[in-house]
Symmetry: C2
Amino acid sequence: MTAVGGSTRTDERKGCGRLTGSARPTSRDVARAAGVSQATVSLVLGGKWHGRVSERTAHAVRDAAGRLGYRPNLAARNLRLGRTRTALMVVPALTNDYFARVYTGAARVAAEHGFGVVLYPSPAGVGPARDPFGSAQAAIDGVIASSMAADALAGIGGGELPLVMLDSGPAAPGGPPTVDLAVADGMRQVVRHLVGLGHRRIAHVAADIDAWTFRVRTATVAAELAGVPGAVLTSERCPLDVDAARAAALRALRPPAGQARPTALLCDGDLLAAGACKAARSLGLRLPGDLSVTGFDDFALAAALDPELTSVRLPAEDVGARGMTALLALLDGEAVDSVELPVDLVVRDSTAPPAV
Amino acid sequence: MTAVGGSTRTDERKGCGRLTGSARPTSRDVARAAGVSQATVSLVLGGKWHGRVSERTAHAVRDAAGRLGYRPNLAARNLRLGRTRTALMVVPALTNDYFARVYTGAARVAAEHGFGVVLYPSPAGVGPARDPFGSAQAAIDGVIASSMAADALAGIGGGELPLVMLDSGPAAPGGPPTVDLAVADGMRQVVRHLVGLGHRRIAHVAADIDAWTFRVRTATVAAELAGVPGAVLTSERCPLDVDAARAAALRALRPPAGQARPTALLCDGDLLAAGACKAARSLGLRLPGDLSVTGFDDFALAAALDPELTSVRLPAEDVGARGMTALLALLDGEAVDSVELPVDLVVRDSTAPPAV
DNA sequence: CCGCTCAGGTGTTACGTATAACGTCTACGG
DNA sequence: CCGTAGACGTTATACGTAACACCTGAGCGG
């Protein structure tokens, strides 16, 4: 290899045809301005120049970069490095603040490790099925998906990207690691709270949604109440919607002749509970004296309602944080365990002992 | 023939969390498999081969690409093309569904033009100030920012990326195009509704937030009521928070001795209205008989409350759609006009004529 | 038989970055 | 005065794609 050629400046003819307009400066432009090679610019600005570049040169480079307003082209960096230090979070909807809190937790942990997080709401039906994330994956190292069925993620980058699933149910062996909430335990706490207050006739307003977390809620209520002597459980299913819940609650509160009205409405979510409260009021029932109502999720809505809702608080930030921690470990090639986080009942004003 | 050795299934070791990912196939691999050059693969898969590549060859290429499970490297494509067909939407918070609906509208229009949209919540204080979008801008052609002050976006990619601002107030001359809502008109509709019902003593529960939309709301209420003979306006400022609103409403409902209690609470947002309702109930007032309450924004919350809230519906999807349309035009180098969209009062059950 | 066109491709380059591998110059011990 | 080890940079290259310029026969009119 004889590289001693007389070409002291190889970059000379670089900007020949290019007019000196406002094209974004590249590292080569910085190099020219600082009188060094492009590689040196890369070293200095990459922060790994200690002992390889003199302080004086490094300063010249940084000075030139600042003068030119240089900002590295991240697409080129991503191509070169094969990684982007960015994660994609997929959420089923933006409507409720649970996901906002999950995002917050994930973003915090990511930022601590120099990672960014972008969000991709997955409105079912938008975008080609085989390419669920559209062009988002151009700059993505891994994915955190919340509340999605495993098969809905089949198309994800050909299954090549590291993936962590949140709120998706027990981890499948060999599948991606998961972060879940102890939903069943939360529901048990609700049931025990009501039973402890003396309620025996309980109506369950159940979300008619085919997602793990709701199946668990329904199943747990039935299983837990089955162990209570004298307990009577009725059940009404409805979509996750205030008006639908109102209708369902009305059905539950007008039992067939000969049956007594339930003394408590146990709802699968705060939204449903809001509907249930409206139904109760429209029947002239007073809360919680005539009827107890419970929610789940503890949205901001829960505290905004009147009476404030007894609900189950979900540690959303922790879910996001643990999920991001898991993803980062995955990216480091480490083995990651799935985890289940505890939840807590928050007793407020919508529950009381039943009227005698 | 080229080496197609029996690699029917490339990756077999998924256990232990180690994601080997045996080198994603590149367009060159596809070319080898199809017996053509890489350039031809690019032509065929790029969809611009009509009249330049025979149908037979094109089929062979697509077949090979399918067999190998080829997916183009978007980082490389972005680098080559200098554009990404992806927009970044910046929102101040994920908590309310206004932004969800804005996103939905923007994503729909984007999808119609082969664009994707990723979301970047901008939690104030997260991320270095000079680099507000972190690594998100690696694959971004333009930005749609909602409800942000113009100067908060100063650091945006060095100000180089096309930008559209939503809900940010009147467009600055020479600044980015904007999409705004006729917030002032909406507030006027609320005031006229209340005045028309007969209300004269009105308390304004104002959001104490330095954003254009809230400043306008406050100013409009005052201006509009100033033109009503005999109208008495009091005002309480508070953070955008249910509990704070409750406290503020309590102050408004307990006027100094000698002054009559307002007959209506005009709130800057549905969240504040929710707090106001709680305050009213805690004082034993009945809605809307003893007190009228109005919201703004028409969140899902508005219909979930009891009584259902009279509020102002914002055409959020339209805002997103128009914003994306503007951004796409901007990317095409076209001139774009700022626009203001109308809003509509939705009268529900929380307003009524004042008690005599 | 020549030259022209045109379909049907191929070779090559450039995008901007990071880094491995390799020079060169100085200082210094032996 | 040579050998050698830093200190200090540089050259060359690869990442995967898209697009430009070119190449090669075949058909065809003259």
